[in-house]
């Protein structure tokens, strides 16, 4: 079974809802349709099921134009699961699922076969135990499963779902989408999603709609790029890889826009010691830079995630002169430097030296020292720290104190004044 949508346009009250939509789906494919509210997703589904008639374009089901088919023929091949279902009359669940057989029933009443198919649809959706209950007594998840069962009773070759999991809890969401996914091996499944991650997880292909047009269509990793998402949803995101399925995993970038006029804090860290600090700093209105970090270091990853300008160094090597100088450049641009509690060896000793240089430049340095540092430098670290003390670095016991101290800073120049006074 192949569904072809060619050049479909739909206008409603003189505003374009769909503009030149073209795509195709075959059996065994699970297509996810996404886009902001009002992009035309539900309208597209309605055009496919021929509830709405597009003003231009054609929709072909296995080469048959949908317009030329009778309602019954369409219903024999296409099942639709809407967002919500309100059923005013006290029908039992079995009655409702049995209604899915309507397009197939000839004559006055249902046949044995119809009853069997209904039972099977209920088994597939795990709704058999609800058989005798009335529909409106059910929970949201149960209702949705019943409606899906009804659509399945139609024995559709195309299944359309409109936000099937919006009102469901997480276990229901997975249950339903797993079911739908398993069905999608035989039939065409098109589903509208709001949750990008669910869509990325389950769909074979995705379609992004914006401003009534298709922005992107194809495999999830190609469609879900930060650029596309920014274009369509106007949201900054970071894309990671789902470690289980290797599909894209979207993390919205929730931190507020950096106020470029605010203070800049340069963090020298490593080994995970800078994670909390960088997170906290990034959430406040401060610019943050970091360096130098080993690219395999978790702090490096944190910095990257937080989109912090970080200087990375190739693994298993000491800090090169170049990195060191770039670090100093960053330090020069910052207002305060924070040195976290990380294990120091010959490889990253230069980071401590950079902190010293910061003090020479007149930039205040906060040193977080929770315990005696593990010293892999045969005593050189001790000397560095002594020098830091001499140059009036501020020693604090933990990240919170560091943060408070940063909060008290009013600026480089001010500190210098204070520092000179202290020295005096």
């Amino acid at each position: 079974m192949r569904l072809e949508v060619e050049g479909v346009c739909f206008t409603y009250a003189s505003s374009r809802i769909l503009d030149n939509i073209t795509f195709g789906v075959s059996s065994g494919e699970f297509l996810g349709v996404m886009g902001p509210n009002g992009a035309g997703k539900t309208t597209l589904l309605r055009c496919i099921s021929n509830v709405l008639k597009p003003h231009h374009g054609t929709i072909l089901i296995d080469k048959d134009d949908v317009k030329s088919l009778s309602r019954k023929e369409i219903a024999k091949n296409m099942g639709v699961v809407p967002q919500t279902s309100a059923i005013d009359f006290a029908f039992t669940v079995f009655d409702i699922v049995l209604m899915g057989r309507t397009p197939h029933i000839t004559g006055m009443s249902e046949s044995l076969k119809d009853y069997e198919i209904t039972k099977k649809a209920m088994e597939l959706t795990n709704t058999s135990y609800l058989s005798k209950r009335t529909f409106d007594e059910l929970s949201g998840g149960e209702k949705q499963r019943v409606i899906i069962a009804r659509a399945l009773a139609q024995q559709p070759k195309i299944l359309l779902l409109d936000e099937p999991t919006t009102h469901l809890d997480i276990s229901c969401q997975f249950e339903i989408l797993n079911l739908v996914k398993s069905l999608s091996t035989e039939i065409v499944v098109i589903s509208v999603f709001h949750d990008l991650n669910l869509a990325a997880h389950y769909c074979d292909s995705l379609m992004l709609l914006k401003d009534n047009k298709i922005v992107s269509i194809g495999a999830p990793e190609n469609v879900l790029t930060p650029a596309n998402i920014k274009k369509v949803y106007d949201v900054d995101v970071l894309i990671k890889r789902n470690p289980f399925t290797n599909t894209p995993y979207i993390i919205p970038y929730l931190f507020p826009r950096r106020n470029k006029k605010g203070m800049t804090v340069h963090v020298i860290c490593g080994g995970g010691s800078g994670e909390q600090l960088m997170n906290t700093l990034a959430k406040s209105h401060l610019n943050v830079t970091a360096g130098v970090l080993n690219v395999l270091d978790s702090d490096f990853e944190t910095a990257k995630t937080l989109d912090i300008n970080v200087i990375g160094e190739i693994p298993f090597s000491e800090i090169t002169q170049r990195s060191y100088e770039t670090n100093l450049d960053l330090i020069k641009k910052s207002d305060v430097v924070v040195l976290t509690d990380f294990p120091v060896g010959f490889g990253n000793l230069k980071n401590i030296e950079a902190a010293e240089k910061a003090l020479d430049m007149g930039i205040p340095v906060i040193v977080i020292q929770t315990t005696e540092k593990r010293d892999f430098t045969n005593g050189k670290l001790k000397d560095c720290f002594a020098r830091l003390r001499d140059k009036k670095a501020i020693f604090v016991k933990n990240v919170e104190e560091a943060f408070v101290t940063i909060g008290n800073f009013k600026g480089k120049r001010e500190f210098n004044k204070e520092q000179r006074e202290v020295i005096k």
Binding site: I87, M99, T102
Partner: protein
């Protein structure tokens, strides 16, 4: 499911027996007795003579078999029509307040009847024919003005029905003002009554009511699916426009004929479907026949009261149905505040 089907079967058996029982008993009740008559009424012996055929030519025979029995049959037919029409309208409009008159049937029939009286038309069945034509015309108009861009939405139909009803009521009132004589009769007719019953009337009313009712039964499944909503029904393969048109036409036929011969009898078409839905559920396959039987039983009893309670004067049966119907309706409303039926 097995249990439900068997319990439904029992409901049907009970209803059928109740109907037979009703017909037999109400044949004995009337202003001439044996039950409800004065001392000069028919005695039970005389009644039995008539039934067994021994009495073949007296006035008593005419009273029981011609006048009374034909009236009972007409009451049954009208009861069936109104109950089935009401059930259908509640399904098509998905509205528990819908009754058989909702799309302009009652107001159209009133205008037809008023016209026939106003114009002093004097041929047999002139009033029922004009009432029926009025009902059909009103339904046709209501459907036509509800058509927006080739589609007819259910909400629009409802509102058009109300608007048309108000408009036609005004015309009827105007005709009433102008008609002077026979004003009383028109007012009585509007209140509903089965006093025009005769075998001729029953024979005339029976075919269209039978046809219409059976026709609606055939669409039970469609009605079930229609109640899911427009879009779900479309997606399940029902041509909702065509189905609705057919159902509205059949309802107009059935209710129009009923109204033509019996005036406007309220509450039967509104209440019976609700009661039966509580007993047999919302599946129209069982609901429609059950409502039909219940409607017949109810109206036969109501009419028996109407023609006996202050004999020899007759009370309009619409008053009896309203007196029974209104309190029951209020009870229903309070019980099912959630709106689920």
């Amino acid at each position: 499911m097995m249990n439900k089907k068997t319990s439904h079967k029992w409901v049907f058996v009970c209803l059928l027996f109740a109907l037979l029982f009703t017909i037999v008993i109400t044949m004995m009740i009337g202003s001439m007795g044996p039950v409800g008559g004065g001392n000069d009424g028919i005695s039970f012996q005389a009644f039995w003579d008539v039934i067994s055929g021994r009495d073949s030519s007296s006035a008593f025979r005419s009273i029981i078999l011609d006048i009374r029995l034909s009236r009972i049959f007409l009451a049954g037919l009208v009861g069936i029509s109104l109950a089935v029409a009401g059930t259908t309208m509640q399904g098509v409009f998905k509205n528990p307040m819908a009754d058989p008159y909702i799309i302009g049937i009652s107001s159209g029939a009133s205008v037809g009847a008023a016209v026939s009286i106003f114009l002093d038309i004097k041929f047999d069945f002139s009033l029922p024919i004009l009432a029926f034509l009025g009902a059909l015309l009103a339904v046709f108009l209501v459907y036509d003005i509800s058509r927006v861009g080739g589609k007819v939405k259910v909400e629009t139909l409802l509102l058009s029905g109300i608007a048309m009803g108000a408009f036609l009521s005004a015309i009827t009132s105007f005709l009433i003002c102008m008609t002077g004589k026979q004003l009383h009769f028109l007012v009585f007719w509007l209140m509903g009554g089965l006093y025009l019953a005769s075998w001729k009337v029953v024979a005339t009313a029976f075919p269209p009511i039978l046809l219409g009712t059976v026709g609606i039964f055939f669409f039970s499944r469609h009605l079930n699916v229609l109640t899911l909503g427009d879009e779900p029904a479309l997606n399940l393969g029902i041509d909702i426009d065509r189905t609705r048109k057919i159902l509205l036409t059949l309802t107009a036929l059935v209710a129009g004929v009923a109204v033509a011969f019996s005036g406007i009898i309220g509450f039967v078409g509104l209440i019976m479907p609700h009661i039966m839905r509580l007993l047999v559920g919302p599946n129209h396959r069982t609901l429609l026949p059950a409502s039909a039987l219940a409607g017949a039983i109810f109206l036969i009893w109501a009419d028996t009261l109407a023609r006996t309670i202050i004999a020899p004067t007759e009370l309009p049966v619409g008053i009896i149905t309203a007196l029974c119907g209104a309190p029951f309706f209020i009870y229903l409303l309070r019980k099912h505040k959630g709106g689920v039926m």
